[in-house]
Assembly symmetry: C2
Homo-oligomer: 219 residues x 2
Amino acid sequence: MKTRDRILQASLQLFNEQGERAVTTNHIAAHLGMSPGNLYYHFRNKQQIIAELVARYEAEVEGYLQVPQGRALTLQDKAHYLESINQGLWQYRFLLRDLEHLVSADPEMAERYRQFSRRCVQSGQAIYQGLVDAGFLCAKRANPEALALNSWLLMTSWVSFLCTTVLDGEQSELTPAMLRRGVYQVLSQELGLLTEQARPAIEALLAEYYLPLDGIGLS
Amino acid sequence: MKTRDRILQASLQLFNEQGERAVTTNHIAAHLGMSPGNLYYHFRNKQQIIAELVARYEAEVEGYLQVPQGRALTLQDKAHYLESINQGLWQYRFLLRDLEHLVSADPEMAERYRQFSRRCVQSGQAIYQGLVDAGFLCAKRANPEALALNSWLLMTSWVSFLCTTVLDGEQSELTPAMLRRGVYQVLSQELGLLTEQARPAIEALLAEYYLPLDGIGLS
């Protein structure tokens, strides 16, 4: 792996585990057994590392919010979307905890995020339209635009909700199970919209992401 | 009005109009034609004013998230919940823009907010259960717990979504219409869950909060 990529990977890990504010470029260099000078050769400062991680987050999310061309959406596609959301939430949890704040620190990043967020809502709309067209969701009741917007709001606010409302002295770290419940929340929007033929498979998928709220200290 | 209340009212107005970071205690005092010393007699610093506004926000939200005792929920109750959400979003928009950040600055405020947010999710669950019991939502499909959690996420993230994704150089201020669309998003969750007898009235209510996304520069 290139040094630049190793720095990004270690930074992401440390930010996720210890919180971005608690981690300095010196910590990152020490974690990699690297001199601070070597790190500075690749990144001028922590803000530049964060900007690069935000760019990777954006590229990954856009990568998975694609609608297959020339064929209908399948259950497998749907399961893949959900698992991608789950992994994205976990992998970039430090960022999602404080996204508005990190992004608003830099006007260029803020403008790029604005465009990214708009494209994601549009992609989400195409996906929900695909789910209607493929017979998963009832065409008469499902509103792809409203669903896409709500899904985007739910996905981007779940980690910070966990941090403000669920974490406390007793449970002070995010767990993968907590993030799975976020995916359940996105999918639960479809409960009233499923066609009869799609319902059994989607309810089985929902069960995979279910976690009772008292399991995350919220009940 | 008491001086203390005048200071809070003016602070809320200025924070909403100009952003919290751009407003100092000197600006607030000048706006009220008051000496800074007189303001400091009531509030030690800006943080204390913010803490008091957060407390008022919490008290108001909890005030409207009540389920009537001894009778079923009515359409009027439902309309009242929605209008309260709408007014709360508008009235405390500066706070909702950056809530996690403002709240996390003070451990005592963070702990109070955690308890408040948990109680709101519980109250939301009681309200959705009330809507099922009163025959608005289909008992077989509606999941009051998931709906309450999603509604809370949508309500608390809408303003910051608008700020990161909708506002830009051309449209740099929140408008009441933008916040109404947030209420539409909350209510739109029910589209697949309405009973046949409730549908016409709720669809009429939805139409009242509808605003096309290109009307807020997002399409």
